[in-house]
């Protein structure tokens, strides 16, 4: 573990210093936009390093650490450290009132504490995002295996960054830090957009804080989901468009975003409209050709890898989507392909009529049945929108571009229980408007403070987990910390477990927090074939799901399997290994 920590420090130092060197060559000169750019560069460099190491079969902490040490040595020899100028805290203190800084610090400290005490627990993440992280770290390379959930072949750009935070320690203790970094990127981007719209420093900072404190932002930041990263990269791209950054930098934002989730591409029309509307704004000096070419290459690599991979493996770049959309084996369409006016109408109607009120369910990171924008956006952002639109041309331009993106996204995503999470960039506009209003009216400021307090407290526990579940996570020692979804009686000591094709499985939890349990994926649909595959692979226990259990239960009826606790089934002769006695003789 100590060696892993050393590799992590070396690789992160190299990544930060490398990002800084590139940043110096392509920054825009606008402080907040440059902050977002630095975080975007850091995200892209770390993801690119993981992708390269994974494809080269060197996805280990040691390999990345040694490469990082070599890169750090080269950067230090080139004097890169002498060019580092840390942001001035004194300047920040002079521009932003202390209570706001303390409040922002409290939110950040809370997120960092959650990185430590939480373990991946959100359904989508532990079903199909994170199994890739665990499998590839375990294998030491990026393999064709992504898990047996139908959604597992989706692009995994954010998973690369999560691997960066897990591979060095060979443990998921710090995996949520990936989300917190994107939270910071979103914060910087909204600050940049608010400044561009003409808000004073303090009001712009409040806008960024209001956005960062949106319930879904806080929950996604530590929820290992990829919607916040999409929104953060989109907003960073927006801030860079209005700062008139070089096209290679914009391409980096687009490539990185497309690699994280295709929904990023759905929002691109707004970005194009914005680029056209601000084309006459002054542009910063252009970066050198080598720098621009390097950024473009990185962008193309990160953006295209997943689609090329799916084309090569499945003959379809948008697999598991197809011409009829993303259709489950039972015929249910869970995502459409192509725009639909009907979907647009439904999504808009549902957003306005019910989702913004958040009255169906408590706050949750997947925006189930609610926008999860919180009271500040609803009560302050909505009334502030029209006055801000009326009096501020730049704000009108921004709002128009965001509206185009919103309409594009809403016409392309099915009106399901979770659709609002695909347009998480929208409340940024409302937060900027609310902060503008709060700068003029003291009572609005007080309401904003009250809303921030409520959002801080009410997002500590989500509705999908009880406080007992959270307590169960917190109480475990960090080495063994794991969400309790597998239930009690889970065969803890089994070194390998099979998992059967089907949705809704918490497969990631099978790997264990240190990725030390082998998970064997079986894609058979007959119990005899499942058992034969288990015997061939030397696995005695199989983990089912609501769908897969039908196959496994047929195996129980035929006497070739037995059902254990919950969704676990085993070969008839299997008995759970007894615990190894500890040297002290205590269990």
């Amino acid at each position: 573990m100590m060696l892993g920590l050393l590799w992590m420090l070396l690789a992160n130092a190299a990544c930060l210093l490398g990002a800084h060197e590139i940043w110096l060559r392509c920054r825009t000169g606008q402080a907040a936009a440059d902050g977002a750019l630095f975080l975007l560069l850091r995200f892209a460099l770390a993801s690119g390093a993981v992708l390269a190491a994974g494809l080269a079969g060197a996805l280990t902490g040691a390999a990345l650490g040694i490469a990082g040490a070599a890169a750090l040595g080269a950067l230090l020899l080139a004097g890169a450290h002498r060019r580092v100028r840390l942001p001035s805290l004194r300047a920040l203190r002079e521009r932003v009132p202390m209570p706001l800084l303390i409040l922002a610090g409290a939110f950040l400290v809370r997120l960092l504490l959650q990185v430590w005490v939480l373990s991946p627990h959100v359904g989508d993440a532990i079903c199909y995002h994170l199994p890739k992280v665990a499998e590839w770290i375990q294998q030491g390379r990026i393999t064709a295996e992504t898990g047996v959930d139908y959604r597992s072949p989706f692009p995994g750009g954010f998973e690369l960054f999560e691997i960066w935070w897990s591979v060095f320690l060979h443990h998921d203790l710090l995996i949520e830090a990936a989300g917190v970094e994107t939270w910071l990127m979103a914060f910087a981007a909204v600050l940049a957009l608010a400044r561009w719209a003409g808000l004073p420093h303090a009001a712009a900072f409040l806008a960024a804080l209001l956005f960062g404190a949106i319930p879904v932002m806080l929950m996604q930041a530590v929820g290992t989901l990829n919607d916040l990263p999409v929104a953060a990269i989109f907003l960073a791209g927006t801030a860079l468009v209005v700062a008139r950054a070089h096209p290679a930098i914009l391409l980096l934002a687009v490539g990185t975003g497309l690699g994280v989730k295709p929904t990023f591409g759905f929002a691109l029309p707004g970005l194009l409209v914005l680029a056209w509307l601000v084309r006459r704004e002054p542009a910063p000096p252009r970066p050198g050709r080598a720098c621009a070419a390097g950024l473009a290459l990185l962008a193309v690599g990160l953006g295209s890898y997943w689609y090329v991979r799916n084309a090569a493996l499945y003959g379809n770049p948008i697999h598991p989507g197809g011409r009829s959309g993303f259709v489950l084996p039972n015929g249910k369409v869970v995502q459409q392909v192509g725009p639909s006016l009907l979907t647009l109408k439904e999504n808009l109607r549902r957003t306005i009529d019910s989702r913004v009120y958040d009255f169906h369910l408590g706050y949750n990171p997947t925006c189930e049945m609610g926008a999860n924008w919180g009271p500040a956006v609803f009560a302050l952002g909505l009334p502030a929108l029209l006055p801000a639109l009326r009096g501020n041309r730049r704000f009108r331009i921004l709002t128009f571009a965001m509206a185009v993106s919103l309409l594009a996204v809403y016409s392309l995503v099915l009106s399901d229980r979770w659709f609002t999470r695909f347009a998480l960039f929208v409340p940024a506009i409302l937060c900027i408007a609310a902060a503008d209003l709060a700068a003029r009216i003291r009572a609005v400021n007080l309401l904003a403070a009250a809303a921030l307090g409520l959002q801080f407290v009410n997002t500590l526990a989500g509705d999908r987990m009880s406080v007992d579940d959270y307590s169960a996570i917190y109480r475990q020692p960090w080495r063994e910390r794991r969400a309790p979804m597998l239930g009690t009686g889970f065969p803890e000591r089994e070194p390998a477990i099979a998992s059967l094709q089907g949705g809704g499985l918490f497969i990631y939890l099978l790997y264990g927090p240190g990725f030390d349990r082998r998970v064997v994926y079986i894609r058979e649909s007959e119990p005899e074939a499942v058992v034969a595959a288990m015997r061939r692979q030397g696995v005695a226990v199989v983990y089912g799901s609501r769908e897969a259990n039908a196959v496994l239960k047929r195996g129980v009826e035929r006497g070739i399997l037995k059902q254990d606790v919950g969704n676990f089934f085993s070969l008839p002769e299997w008995k759970e290994p007894s615990p190894t006695p500890s040297p002290s003789g205590r269990p």
């Binding site: 009120y357 706050y363 009271p375 009560a379 009334p383 029209l386 009216i441």
Partner: protein, 53 residues
């Protein structure tokens, strides 16, 4: 939507006056109350969980 539209109409005639400030504050407070009314059951539950587990 109706409340926000009314407020906007109000602001056409009394923009940035003391009356506008009061109307805006009242509108924000009213919307906050409407939001909290819908969220209250969940908010109370979450507050109970988080403050007095």
């Amino acid at each position: 939507v109706l409340l926000v539209a009314l407020h906007w109409g109000f602001s056409i005639f009394w923009r940035r006056t003391r009356a506008w400030t009061w109307a805006t504050s009242a509108l924000c407070a009213g919307l906050m109350a409407i939001y909290l009314y819908g969220q209250l059951p969940f908010a109370i539950e979450a507050l109970r969980w988080n403050l007095w587990p």
